[in-house]
């Protein structure tokens, strides 16, 4: 059901898509362009700029939900939430000041708080989306519980724009806990993994974990009572609040040295200046999402471990096949997050290829939403969508 009136900006987007659909013109959907490096390179004929479609449609703090037009700057929305003592539970990376809400949902990337709170996808309540035929559709809603029809709103999270153009998104928000503290201790990788493991088996108010350079950082968020009690369990030295906030921000935004790869060749993964300026040679940055209890030796020499062990970052010269196999053995998958200079993406793309049934279903779903294959062709997987020419 169409609840919101069409704005001029939305009207313009609809017209562009309707034209592209009839002309079968390939469209690259763009918000703030801050996550253009993520995913596979898109060979499009035209860019659909959604960043002008801005505004908060509805926000009632006690409903724990906000509805926002997709082009709205993420920073502005977070500032609004903060004014009301609320936040997005998934702590989304921005990767640049221009980051939009639509880009955040389409990329589906969550930050350090993800395993302890929610993912972007978990928080999606509803979407207003434009399909490949230029039809404006609404799925989900603005309420917490909704099982009317297929869950096509959460399907949009992380879909990288291959199914449709996000116009509006409704998201669950949560209160900012009253207090926070970050504790740091020296630990080798195995020790850090074991500790994160042990803590995860108890109901503790942990809101972030990061092991790098031989140090384990644990962020707690909650009431004073909970922090005091948990601090005794976790141990380690407290960081000054400002220093700690800066650390978690730099981690979320991947501005720490451990993310730096030398990617200046413009091969489609070129850095946007936020990936640090280290010269890491030909190593690429891999993101391995795995079982949290995966042993240290199964994924040798990670540069960073997050999410209680479930996310491991690796700068490596290994082949895609080798890295993917490590991740597969650990119950997960690997993404080539940023390719090192002189290294091109694997032919089958930066994401781990799907099993044959899932791959076929992806093609069918793509056609179900975007019959002409015009949206972000190849961004998710090469071959998903029509090719230019």
């Amino acid at each position: 059901m169409t609840e919101t009136a069409e704005t001029d900006a939305e009207q313009a987007i609809v017209e562009q898509v309707t034209t592209a659909w009839s002309a079968e013109r390939l469209v690259a959907i763009q918000g703030g362009g801050t996550k253009a490096f993520y995913g596979n390179r898109v060979a499009a004929e035209t860019v659909l700029d959604c960043s002008v479609h801005q505004g908060v449609v509805a926000y009632e703090p006690t409903e724990l939900a906000i509805t926002v037009r997709a082009g709205t700057p993420l920073a502005a929305v977070e500032a609004l939430l903060a004014e009301h003592g609320q936040q997005f539970p998934f702590e989304p990376p921005h990767f640049g000041a221009a980051a939009t809400i639509g880009g955040m949902v389409a990329a589906g990337l969550s930050g350090p708080r993800r395993p302890y709170a929610a993912s972007v996808r978990d928080a999606v309540l509803g979407v207003r989306v434009l399909n490949g035929k230029g039809e404006v559709l609404e799925f989900g809603g603005r309420v917490m519980k909704n099982v009317a029809g297929y869950d096509l709103s959460r399907l949009m999270a992380g879909s990288l724009g291959v199914l449709g153009v996000l116009l509006e998104v409704s998201l669950k928000v949560m209160p900012v806990p009253p207090g926070r503290i970050t504790l740091v201790q020296e630990q080798d990788q195995a020790g850090a993994l074991e500790l994160m493991q042990r803590w995860a088996g108890q109901a503790l108010p942990i809101s972030g974990t990061a092991w790098l350079e031989g140090r384990l950082h644990v962020r707690l968020a909650g009431s004073d009572e909970a922090l005091t009690q948990t601090q005794r369990i976790i141990g380690g030295a407290p960081m000054a609040v400002a220093e700690a906030d800066a650390f978690w921000l730099a981690l979320r935004e991947q501005e720490l040295d451990c993310f730096a790869v030398d990617s200046l060749t413009g091969d489609g993964f070129a850095g946007d200046g936020f990936a640090g300026d280290g010269l890491a040679g030909e190593r690429s940055l891999w993101r391995l999402s795995v079982r949290s209890a995966t042993a240290a030796k199964a994924i040798p020499a990670p540069d960073l471990i997050e999410w209680g062990g479930a996310l491991r970052w690796l700068r490596s010269e290994r082949s895609a096949a080798e890295v993917r196999e490590m991740a597969r053995t650990a119950g997960g998958h690997a993404t080539l997050f940023r390719a090192g200079s002189g290294r091109s993406a694997p032919r089958d793309g930066v994401f781990t290829p799907l099993n044959p049934v899932a791959a076929r279903l992806h093609q069918h779903l793509k056609r179900a939403f975007d019959p002409a294959g015009i949206f972000n062709p190849g961004r998710l997987y090469p071959g998903m969508g029509r090719t230019a020419g």
Binding site: A118, V143, K145, V147, P177, E225, V290, L354
Partner: protein
């Protein structure tokens, strides 16, 4: 009156029974009237239909073989778990195979290190928490039917429970599914990790009501048990005050583990049934559960108590011990059967509304209740806006069932009108097909049909459920046009 929702022409192919007998042991293929009877409905007994045949496979290979056979013969298949669903999602088809997953009842493994459990779809919801308890872990979603409902059915319906606000729905608490496609292929979605590559098929499969694939294995997340849980019971002289108190608690930045409301008729029914100790001379009660560390819970209990009193609560009680806390919950969890004791039949609705609309919606429900001449008791997952009006009726009185359905339909349309949805956690099934026409326009429904076709182009998996055809909506829409807002409740609506 036909109560079969599907508009497909019947196309019985009795020879599928011979095919099934070749694939499954003799006792796993049921065909006699007596054998079929237990499968003729799920928890929504207003709809009944015996299937052509019931198949009870016990291995994944057998499910694959059954699906291959049915796909080849173009025989529709309805998958069924424990049959506790409340929307007729597992209603059989007269010319279809009812695929019972009851024999898939094994817990395949608990992985305490990764805090997950891998189970077969027929495992009962509560059995998972019981199996994990030794590790200090549990499975969070707790539908009221958790002693009986199966995890496969929970996934198919995206079931909720009384702790959703803090701990999420089924979709937030599962990691991986093994599925059989309509063609009989085995495939996986999700991962043992926290995300997986490609489109989020795990989210899409959750709540898809058996329309896209058959679930044969589920990996769920387990959570550590909090150190302490404490519950408060507050009594109010009006439902509006109770609703305002909910907004106050959440506005203060507190996310209770559970936050439930019951109105006067529901309170009385529950109290008479299980003697939970509820005050019976009040208009509404709120049950608020807080969990976490001992000291933290003690602090929050004081804050919530103050907020409740400031919101006009006539009385606030804190459970003296865990036994009393569980008694508070017992009344709430027994609300449906309790209402079943005071009325020959009841019809449970499942709308979700923005919480701030609670007062106006309950007033309107009360007006509708008078208009239709049927009493309504309300239980409400107040934290997340999920309202369960229970319509009391007697099916033995001619026309009363239809009256109850019409009242239910009007309530759901009201939920949509105020910005909510026709189903929060029970699913559409066959029950809310007409209301889907109110909530979604034809382009949106067409998109859902296209998604169905992406998985099941021949429409063999649970056809006729969850998403109405445009034809049906056109007919239902015509009722709107000709009769205004469902003012002719005596008309059969199915």
């Amino acid at each position: 009156m036909s109560r079969i929702p599907d508009e497909r022409p019947l196309n019985p192919k009795p020879e599928v029974v011979d095919g099934l007998r070749r694939l499954l042991p003799r006792e796993s293929v049921l065909t006699t009237e007596a054998e079929l009877a237990p499968y003729e409905c799920d928890g929504l007994s207003a709809f009944q239909q015996r299937p052509l045949v019931v198949a009870l496979p016990e291995t994944v290979e057998q499910v694959q073989a059954v699906m291959r056979l049915c796909h080849e013969m173009e025989v529709p298949v309805v998958a069924r778990g424990a049959g506790t669903g409340l929307s007729g999602g597992a209603l059989p088809l007269a010319d279809g195979v009812l695929l019972s997953l009851a024999k898939f009842n094994r817990i395949l493994g608990i992985d305490p290190a990764n805090r997950s459990a891998t189970v077969q779809p027929g495992v009962r919801n509560l059995a998972i928490s019981e199996a994990a308890a030794g590790h200090g872990l549990y499975y969070a979603p707790d539908p009221s039917s958790q002693i009986a409902c199966s995890i496969g059915g929970n996934v198919a319906e995206n079931s909720g429970g009384v702790h959703c606000l803090k701990y999420g729905l089924t979709v937030h608490n599962i990691l991986k599914l093994k599925l059989i496609s309509v063609e009989g292929e085995l495939f996986e979605v999700g991962a043992d990790a926290l995300d997986s590559p490609g489109l989020d098929l795990l989210a899409l499969m959750t709540g898809s009501e058996g329309m896209l694939a058959v679930i044969v294995e589920v990996t769920v997340k387990l959570l550590p048990k909090p150190e302490r849980a404490q519950a408060l019971l507050a009594a109010f002289d009006s439902v509006e005050q109770a609703g305002a108190a909910v907004a106050e608690i959440i506005g203060a930045g507190i996310i209770p583990a559970g936050l439930e409301m019951m109105d006067r008729p529901a309170i009385r029914a529950a109290e008479d049934f299980v003697h939970a100790g509820y005050p019976t001379d009040v208009e509404a009660i709120l049950i608020c559960e807080l969990d976490g560390f001992n000291a933290e819970v003690s602090f929050d209990v004081m804050r919530v108590r103050d907020l409740l009193l400031a919101s006009g609560a006539a009385d606030v009680r804190t459970a003296a011990d865990d036994a009393e806390r569980l008694r508070f919950w017992k009344g709430r969890k027994a609300a449906f059967p309790a209402v079943g004791r005071i009325s020959p039949d009841y019809y449970c609705m499942d709308g979700t509304i923005p919480r701030r609309q609670l007062g106006p919606v309950l007033r309107q429900i009360s007006a509708l209740s008078e208009q239709y001449g049927l009493a309504v008791a309300n239980v409400f997952h107040a934290g997340d806006g999920n309202l369960h009006p229970l319509i009391l009726y007697d099916a033995n009185n001619p026309g009363e069932l239809e009256q109850a359905e019409a009242l239910g339909g009007a309530i759901l349309e009201l939920c949509v009108e105020v910005g909510g949805t026709v189903t929060g956690e029970h699913g559409v099934g066959v029950e809310k097909l007409n209301q889907m026409c109110v909530q979604f326009n034809s382009a949106e429904l067409n998109q859902m049909h296209a998604v169905k076709a992406a998985f099941d182009p021949k429409r063999l998996l649970n056809p006729g459920k969850a998403v109405p055809t445009l034809h049906r909506c056109a007919e239902f829409g015509a009722m709107h046009v000709h009769h205004g807002e469902l003012k002719f409740p005596e008309l059969p609506r199915f």
